[in-house]
Symmetry: C2
Subunit: 302 residues, 2 copies
């Protein structure tokens, strides 16, 4: 009944370690093998008993897998796939969790020209990184977007989809290029802007960093959470989804310039019209269970 | 021992109603009178027993007050002050909670040339509005910035400061113009950017609004909370703190353009350097108790 019996997770950070924990919770009979290029991460994984086995190399880790999931930064996917190419069982399905898909598909196909590769992207995360940051419920009620390249085996797509449903996610399939444009606006642009504003605020001369930190509850602190996300992962996302990110950024800049002009010329009606419109989006996100309905994200006020 | 015995709150929204609740919790012997220009808000305030008295006019509300706090949008401060000018007791202290100070000081001084006006700004809030949105602990461990104009009576400044300390806030005094520049970066710019990106995302043709909502957990949803804040309040903030907001916006745009260029030319090192730097700011904010230390703001993951 289970879609896979032996799963290998390459990269034991926030997402990889959450998958391992999710499998233990929801599919306890599945055997999980983990590997991470960083020896200290492997040690931690052993110490906290994250997986059934922690392998010493990427090749060893995949030897008897029926699902191999790449959970490394998108810029490293191709290299990691090449590392285990010679050891991959012919019947195994390879998947990933990357935030951009076209570039990952290209890289993995080059490294594994004959493998069945079904890319996926669970839209979930926190600002924390590493093997101790993961938790089994990270994917509950979150969307996982499966982006099969043209000509993919429907049965393989269904097995990967079922795997994610078992972890508590809702699954949607999408064309890889469309995925990259959707995520450019719902995830990549927000991260880019958060990183930028935190940088801008820390570079001021007349307002000290200490003041920025003290009075951050006025709104700024919300951006610092996202801007605390893993630097390597996000560098790779922006470089790999360059065209879509630059396009969304261009639209954002145009809109920001229009608001700037409205402020300069005192056009209160234009501001009010936009600010009223954006409230409705928040309501829809909460209605669809995609955010905490409690005020202030449910932050503690004591 | 209490700094004031009879407090009048004009404007019973999120902040005004939180002050009323905070007084009841922390200074239960203080008599609280409330007023709101909106009759339905006054009715709600009576129904939920928010204050000891709800007055029928701004003038009536201040008749025996020793502290009058303006909790209306910054663009309405002057008009509300003018409404009760004839009824204000000579000994009363007037204060406010506005997010910008220079323009409020000018407007209130014009309306109340002889009153003792000690402006203040509690740096706290949620995305919700109205008399039922407030809660007594909103100001706990948050900063309240008192911005006395030159020549203010030190005793009056101390009484207003003590009032906020009693509500659980930490108090800092600051020159009004400096306040406006600090808040432009820690609060006003973040709100402007959040409103913009939510607008940009909802205006795309090829990515549907439904997709934006579904996949918002990738980062976008964080911005929608701030962009659900009160439209009137925020329109007024941007118009009243125009110069400082435009200046911060200019710096932000320059930094964003530099990142855009780094992405276009594949300069991964520049991206990585910024993304590493911004992590430290988040840590400081948490170390100083200005945000929830739990991952994802403590959002529920079940």
């Amino acid at each position: 009944m289970l879609p896979f019996a032996r799963v290998t997770i390459l990269g034991l950070g926030l997402i990889g370690s959450s998958i391992a924990r999710g499998i233990r919770q929801h599919m306890p009979s599945v055997r999980v093998t983990g590997y991470d290029a960083d020896p200290s991460v492997r040690e931690t994984a052993v110490a906290i008993e994250l997986c059934d086995d922690v392998a010493d190399s990427a090749g060893t880790s995949v030897i008897d897998a029926d699902l191999v999931i790449l959970c490394v930064p998108v810029g490293a996917m191709g290299a990691v796939a090449a590392e285990f190419a010679a050891d991959l069982p012919a019947e195994a399905i390879v998947s990933d969790v990357g935030s951009s898909k076209l570039s990952v598909i290209e890289a993995v196909r080059e490294a594994l020209p004959n493998a069945t590769f079904i890319p996926a992207h669970p839209v979930a995360g926190t600002e924390n990184s590493g093997p101790t940051a993961g938790f089994a419920s990270l994917f509950h009620h979150r969307w996982c977007i499966v982006t099969p390249p043209e000509g993919s085996d429907p049965l393989a797509v269904e097995r990967v989809s079922e795997f994610w449903r078992r972890l508590g996610a809702m699954v949607e399939t999408m064309e890889p290029g469309h995925h990259d444009r959707v995520l450019a606006v719902t995830s990549h642009l927000p991260h880019l802007i958060a990183y930028t504003i935190v940088g801008t605020a820390s570079d001021l001369e007349e307002v000290t960093q200490s003041e920025v930190i003290k009075y951050s509850a006025g709104g700024f602190r919300d951006f610092t959470r996202i801007a605390a996300s893993d630097p390597t992962m996000w560098r790779d996302v922006f470089l790999s989804n360059r065209e879509a990110v630059l396009d969304m950024l261009q639209r954002f800049t145009e809109d920001l310039t229009a608001l700037q002009r409205a402020i300069r010329w005192g056009k209160g009606d234009e501001l009010f019209e936009l600010f009223s419109r954006t409230r409705a989006i928040r309501r829809s996100i909460i209605d669809q269970g995609q955010d905490d309905a409690r005020p202030d994200f449910g932050r503690s006020h004591e």
